[in-house]
Subunit: 226 residues, 2 copies
DNA sequence: TGGGACTATGATGTATACAATGCCTTCCGC
DNA sequence: GCGGAAGGCATTGTATACATCATAGTCCCA
């Protein structure tokens, strides 16, 4: 019955390297050598190469001809650019989700919001790993509920990247509480079909996240994403 | 100083296939066989394969494991999704460009707007190929002037795709004239550093383009929150 | 005659060998 | 001692051989 679910070496390499990147396994600027990775994973260079090219297309590694893949360093400017795009794309997604989300999706969103709250405040210490994963699912579900299939691939990498270098551990108790309440606001706005509300909340939510991650004010002339 | 710029087989394959797609060489649903393309281009499967994967990451071909690459059919829904994203991303870009564009960039934009006008109305017949290319450069330059490097890669594929299946030949004389005037509006808004104006013009410009390409009113789901 | 399994075929997935490129060291000349 | 050029070495780019999978056609059996 249960077929071996043979997975391709390319996928193994891709998820393995991606996970390593997310875990900060290689310092910024590291040279990811195809031979090394292949040997480590017990496969040949070919699938490793494909995985690296795919990661490069998502800008998770930098690629230069004849030089190979390097781990990019995430500057404040990079993060500013990413947050600026997230403000636009995710607020758009939230607005569309308010119009198109199914009752089932809304129910899952509400459950996720509750789970995030529990992971943040249910124990003595926030479970940052779980928060990250749940938050990720929450945002991705809103994007999915927007019903614009192309939006998924555009946003996918933008959501993950900031958390590679800046984690939820940067959120103090108050910032975390505000973030949690944003999620409940979003659920209500989407459940009520109020696109304008959903857009506004999401814009505010991403801006707040940016503030925590980057610290500097976004409005000033100096810290702008440009 | 100008080095021979040796081009890799991968790049040859990529641009060749991409060009073929843009020219409508293969009908929607066609199976792009690696062996065939390799033989035709006089290279091996390896670089062809890499090129196809890259095109797949841009969603210019569809990829399924063990089945290979297929030419996607562009449904009205696809185009709707693309235009919806262009409205968001390019208007954002226009606003940023108004704040950050250099005088040189503004000058080039103005020249491009004039060139487009000339290509459209300078001769007996509009030069659609030239219009397409100039229009492309105009929009890309605005994106570049926005100063958000990540925006480039996000928008790149969105600008090209609609023109694969729907060309400027769909613009009648009046629609073309309006499009041309939008371009001049954009130049003025950006030259004057008026971000709000630039955003508004670009939103209107993309919506107008959508109307020509798709014909149907953008109502219903598109009545989204802005 | 219909249906299911098997096999033939051709495609993609992977491994490996070879070519080309870039970098670094070393050696020569000054 | 310094500068530059040449060559070796490590790495990526490409080609090719082999493995695996999907599909279609055929044959056998009920």
């Amino acid at each position: 019955m249960n077929k071996p679910e043979r997975l391709r070496a390319t996928d193994v390499a891709y998820s393995s390297i991606r996970q390593g990147l997310a875990a900060g396994r290689w310092p910024a600027g590291s040279h990811l050598r195809e031979t090394e990775l292949a040997a480590e994973l017990g496969i040949s260079r070919t699938p490793v190469r494909e995985a690296l090219r795919k990661l490069a297309s998502e800008q998770l590694v930098q690629f230069e001809p004849h030089l190979g893949a390097r781990v990019p360093g995430w500057s404040d400017r990079d993060l500013e650019e990413i947050f600026a795009l997230r403000v636009e794309l995710e607020s758009f997604a939230a607005g569309r989700a308010a119009l198109h989300a199914s009752p089932g999706q809304v129910a899952v969103l509400r459950q996720l919001a509750q789970d995030i709250e529990h992971a943040a405040f249910g124990g003595a210490e926030p479970d940052y790993v779980r928060i990250t994963e749940l938050n990720n699912r929450f945002h991705r579900l809103i994007v999915a509920a927007a019903g614009n299939r192309r939006l998924d691939s555009l946003i996918a990498t933008l959501i993950d990247i900031p958390l590679v270098v800046r984690t939820f551990a940067r959120f103090d108790r108050q910032a975390m509480a505000r973030s949690v309440s944003h999620h409940f606001d979003l659920v209500e706005a989407i459940a009520g079909g109020n696109a304008d509300w959903a857009v506004a909340v999401m814009r505010a939510h991403i801006h707040a996240g940016r503030q925590v991650m980057l610290g500097t004010p976004a409005g000033g002339s100096a810290g702008q994403a440009d």
